[in-house]
Each structure stands twice: as C-alpha cells, then as structure tokens.
C-alpha cells in the first residue's frame, strides 16, 4: 500500500516558481508594430515570402475582434502593447549539451531533467526566451532521414517543404491568436519523418517564458510521411510573476496515408500565464493522429486540439485532462471533422475543478455529407471539489450523414463520500484519500504517458491537491 512514500514527497514545494535575472543580448521594444515584425524577420534571415506572410497576418490580427465566448473578461484584459514579442539571448546555437550557456543550463537543471532521461531522448530542442538555444540530433535518427530542427532552422534549411505545408492546416485568418502567432512566431519545432520510418524514441521539446511580459509564440510543423510512426512530446513550465504572460502557439500536423502520430503535451504554466493555442492535424487515408493533452497550469487556457479526417479509414483520438485550481480557467476541448468515409474518432475528456477553479469542455464533432460509416465516441467526465468550483460541458455535434454512429456521454459529480470514507478507513488522511481518488480519476490519461511524465504528473497533482482539506 505504501509505495507512495518513494516518489511522492508531500513536503516538496512548488519548485517551478523561480525566475532568473534577465540576461539578453538584444531586447526588442515592447508592443507589436510592423517595425518589430520586419526587424525580427531580418534578424532571422528569412525569405521574402515569410516576411510577406507575417505582415499580412499582422493586418489580420489587428482587424479581427476578440472572441465573444469563453472567459471574455480575462481575454479582454490582455494588454498587447505591454508584451515583448522577440528576444534573442545568444548569438549562436550550441552543438552539444556542454556548449549551452551556464545560466540557461541552470534553468533546465532546476526543471529537474534527470541524467538518465537524456538517454531516452532522440534529440532536444530547448527554447529560451523565444529562440532555440541548443539542439542536437542523435545519429540514428539522422541516418533514418528524420529531420528534427527548430522552426527557424527548418525554414532556412528546408524552405521548399516548409513553404508547401506552413499554414496549410491553420491559416493566419483562422482566429485572432493564430493571426498573432503567424505574425510573430519564433522557435518551435520542425519535424519531418520520411515514408515508412518508425522513430522509436519520443521527440521532445522544452521551453519556457522568463522575461517579464514575455510573449511566447512558438510554431510547430510536423509532417509524418506515408506509413511513418512518431511520438512528439511537449512539456513546459514558467516562473510565477505578478504581471501576465501570453503564450499563443500554433501546431500543425500532417499525417500522410498510413502514418501514425501521437502528440503529447503536459502544460504547467504558472498561474499568471494566458495560454491560447491552436493545434490541428490533417489525417489522410488510414492515418492515425492522437492528441494527449494535459492542462494543469496557467490562469486561462483555451485550447481545442483538432483532427481533420480527410482520407478514408483515418482515425483521430483526443485524450485530455484539465485541472483547474483556484483562480484558474481551463477551457479545453476537442474537435473532429469527419470528411471522408469510414473514419473513426474517440474523445475522452477528464476534468477536475477545485477550490473555485473552472473547467470547461468545448467540443465539436462535425460529420459532413458523404462521410459514410463514421463512428464517433465522446466521453466527458468532470470531478468537482470545493464550493464555487465550476464545470461546463459544451459539446456540439453537427451530423449531416445518416449512415453513422455517434455517441456522446458526460458525467459530473463530486468525490463520493463513500469512496472517501473507505479510503480513510484504510488509514489515509482525507487529503491523501483525495489525491488517490483524483489520480484514479485521471488514470486513463496517465497510463498513456512516458514514465517520467507520469511520475511528474502525479507529483504535480499532489501539489495541486495541497490545502484541499480544512
């Protein structure tokens, strides 16, 4: 019973609430102007078409109104003029871990990436203050022809392929925040997996916001060519600040026929961050795309991973966990578009609202005419703890084809008294019992994570659950 004593140290503080003094070689001015965009593009040495794209996106961003749904009060309180949109901390990229500047290595040491973990990684792209500082690729992957670079390098070295797919899944005009990202994107990952290649170890990336009011606008483009298999993991933390930080990322995935791709995220931004992300995948014939999405941090997260099932037999799956503690709003969800025949999808959403936090599920299942044989299953479970916590479920299903099977179910409840009573009668304190119940609740999600993440997640849940009694 007591295997918990090893990893779960109840007395650990929230170790991620630190920040380094600002060290930057060039610091852009505050605010978003055409000049900032031009300067950024020039410093990156980008081709003209990318500058054009950025400038058009800037115009779109200015023209589009804020969304009128979701946490509109919080959204409208974002002051775009107070944010730094680009920052470059060093002149060159390091080649090996030893070449990384000391203060940056410190940050990552504090994040607790254990020595052993590095062996698991095929390559690491580390983003610090909007620019990729260190990146390395292991020989096996290079030999397989896999490309794993930061997005800036991807554009430089593989312009043709980037140009073909960039913004093909998420155009700048899609929403206000994809427009913002399209104008000022910096960093993120570019991944290309050639046909038939299976990348056995997950590709990972870390990044964090550090400078006060630093915006984070990474852009990720992943192309899994026919029959390939790859798992990409994204996990991040941020220091705690009084003023608010904005994170507005765009992730585009193209899964060619027969490709299988999983994209795992554990987001744990500190509770002053606005996390507004657009993530979408196009899945072709018999391709499989899985979004495994964990939302734990931030003041406000708005994120609805999406899969467009464009080829016959494609499958989309979204497994998400949202934990909203005091003062947090996790507004997450899932979108699946069934366009081709015989496509399938599964959405599992688990959310927890505690101590006045608010967790919302917003989903869209759209089945177009002609998407014959579509099979859809959606399950939303919500756990409420504490007075004034809130849970919302807003699932939309628009079905325009008759020969389909669409099922949706949702449940909302608090932690059962009987459950608690039983656990406490086994010697656990009420708080320990609650932790156990919550961990059991999110188990379907946790068991899909690589082990080190599972451990980290359980640790984080424990920290979040502190003070839930009395």
């Amino acid at each position: 019973m007591s295997s918990r004593s090893d990893d779960l140290d109840i007395n650990d503080e929230y170790k991620y609430g630190f920040h380094d003094p600002e060290v930057a070689v060039y610091k852009a001015e505050k605010g978003l102007t055409e000049e900032v965009v031009r300067k950024m593009s020039e410093m990156k040495g980008e081709p003209d078409w990318m500058l054009e794209f950025r400038l058009q996106a800037l115009a779109t961003f200015r023209a589009k109104p804020m969304p009128k749904w979701g946490s509109t009060e919080l959204l409208n309180s974002i002051n775009f003029d107070e944010i730094y949109y680009y920052l470059k901390p060093t002149e060159e990229q390091g080649q090996t871990w030893d070449d990384v500047p000391e203060y940056i290595k410190n940050t990552f040491e504090k994040l607790g990436i254990p020595e052993a973990e590095r062996k698991f990684l095929a390559g690491v792209s580390a983003q610090y203050e909007s620019e990729v500082v260190y990146h390395s690729l292991q020989k096996e992957i290079e030999a397989q022809g896999v490309i794993f670079l930061d997005m800036d390098a991807g554009l430089r070295e593989h312009e043709e392929i980037v140009r073909k797919y960039f913004a093909s899944v998420i155009p700048a005009e899609d929403n206000k925040f994809s427009a913002l990202n399209s104008a000022v994107w910096s960093g993120g990952s570019f991944v290309y997996v050639p046909p038939g290649v299976e990348v056995t170890m997950p590709l990972q990336a870390y990044f964090r916001i550090n400078a006060e009011n630093m915006g984070q606008f990474e852009r990720t483009l992943i192309i899994a060519d026919e029959g390939s298999r790859v798992h990409y993991i994204e996990g991040c933390t941020a220091p705690t600040y009084v003023r608010d930080s904005l994170h507005s990322a765009v992730v585009e995935i193209i899964a060619m026929p027969g490709a299988q791709l999983r994209y795992t995220t554990i987001q744990n931004w500190s509770k002053n961050v606005y996390n507004l992300v657009t993530k979408r995948a196009n899945a072709y014939e018999n391709a499989v795309v899985e979004w495994v999405d964990g939302n734990l941090g931030s003041k406000l997260t708005m994120k609805y991973p999406c899969v467009n099932l464009l080829g016959e037999g494609a499958h989309g799956e979204i497994l998400s966990v949202a934990f909203a503690n005091e003062g947090q709003h996790q507004d997450a969800g899932a979108k699946i578009h069934h366009v081709a025949p015989r496509t399938t999808s599964r959405i599992t959403s688990k959310s927890i609202s505690k101590a006045g936090g608010r967790s919302s599920y917003r989903g869209m299942i759209k089945v177009e005419p002609g998407a014959v044989g579509a099979k859809v299953h959606v399950e939303c479970d919500a756990l409420l703890m504490g007075e004034s916590s809130r849970s919302d479920t807003y699932p939309t299903m628009e079905i325009a084809e008759e020969q389909v099977q669409v099922e949706h179910e949702a449940r909302v409840s608090k932690v059962g008294d009987e459950q608690l009573f039983y656990l406490m009668s086994r010697g656990l304190t009420e708080e320990e019992a609650l932790v156990m119940v919550v961990n059991g609740f999110i188990e379907p999600f946790v068991k899909e994570l690589p082990m080190e993440y599972a451990v980290e997640l359980n640790r984080l849940i424990q920290l979040e659950m502190e003070g839930s009694v009395g």
């Binding site: 779109t60 093909s168 998420i170 700048a172 005009e173 899609d174 464009l310 177009e368």
Partner: protein
C-alpha cells in the same frame, strides 16, 4: 446542374457586378454568391461550409472567392475547396446573361417556403 429542371432567376443588370467583384443574391429560396472573374460570371453557394460565413461578402482573388470570416477559399469555377479552414467544397449554379440581364438557375421557393 441541368437547367431543364430549374428555373432561371433574373437577378441583376450586368453592370452591377464588375470585374473582381462578388455579391450575394437571393435565387429562389437560396442565397447565391455571384462573381465576375476575368470577364466571366460565376455563381456559387453563398454559405461557407466551414462556419456558415457569407461568401458574397468576401472578396475575389483571381478565380478564388475568400470567406470574410476565416479566410477559407474556393474556386468559383467548380466550387473546389482551396484552403483551410474549410474542408469541403461548395455547390455551383449555372449563370448566363440574357437580354441584358444576369440570370442564375435555381430551385424555386416551394409553397411551404413563402
């Protein structure tokens, strides 16, 4: 679209739709976006399949009509979808100029649809 099965609806004078222009008209019971691209008139469904935006209030770039809501683009010649975030194409309508008037072939409003 077989014009024998549909009525021709008189919708506008040709001068109303200039080169590069796209506008919305009611044809029978359906809203149709009519555009003039490289001199020729084309007619497509007005409702964008992505999120019901009005294509007739968007703009025309070459042969592509762009939805004002989220930028989805369609070829006015065959209704083919050209860009995200739309994923499916749109319907097209026959259009002609007869006796100095622009006409679009459409389904008449039914008695129920008064």
């Amino acid at each position: 679209m077989n014009s024998d099965l549909h009525d021709w609806f008189d919708i506008a004078a040709p001068e109303e739709i200039s080169e590069g222009d796209v506008r919305t008209y009611l044809v029978g019971s359906e809203k149709v976006a009519v555009a003039r691209a490289e001199g020729t008139l084309y007619a497509v469904q007005d409702r964008c399949p992505h999120d019901n935006g009005p294509l007739g209030e968007g703009c025309l770039v070459g042969f592509a009509v762009r939805c004002p809501r989220h930028g989805a683009r369609f070829d006015v010649r065959d209704g083919r979808v050209l860009s995200a975030p739309a994923l499916v194409g749109i319907g097209t309508f026959e259009v002609r100029e007869l006796s100095g008037r622009v006409q679009v072939a459409g389904v008449p409003a039914t008695d129920d649809d008064w």
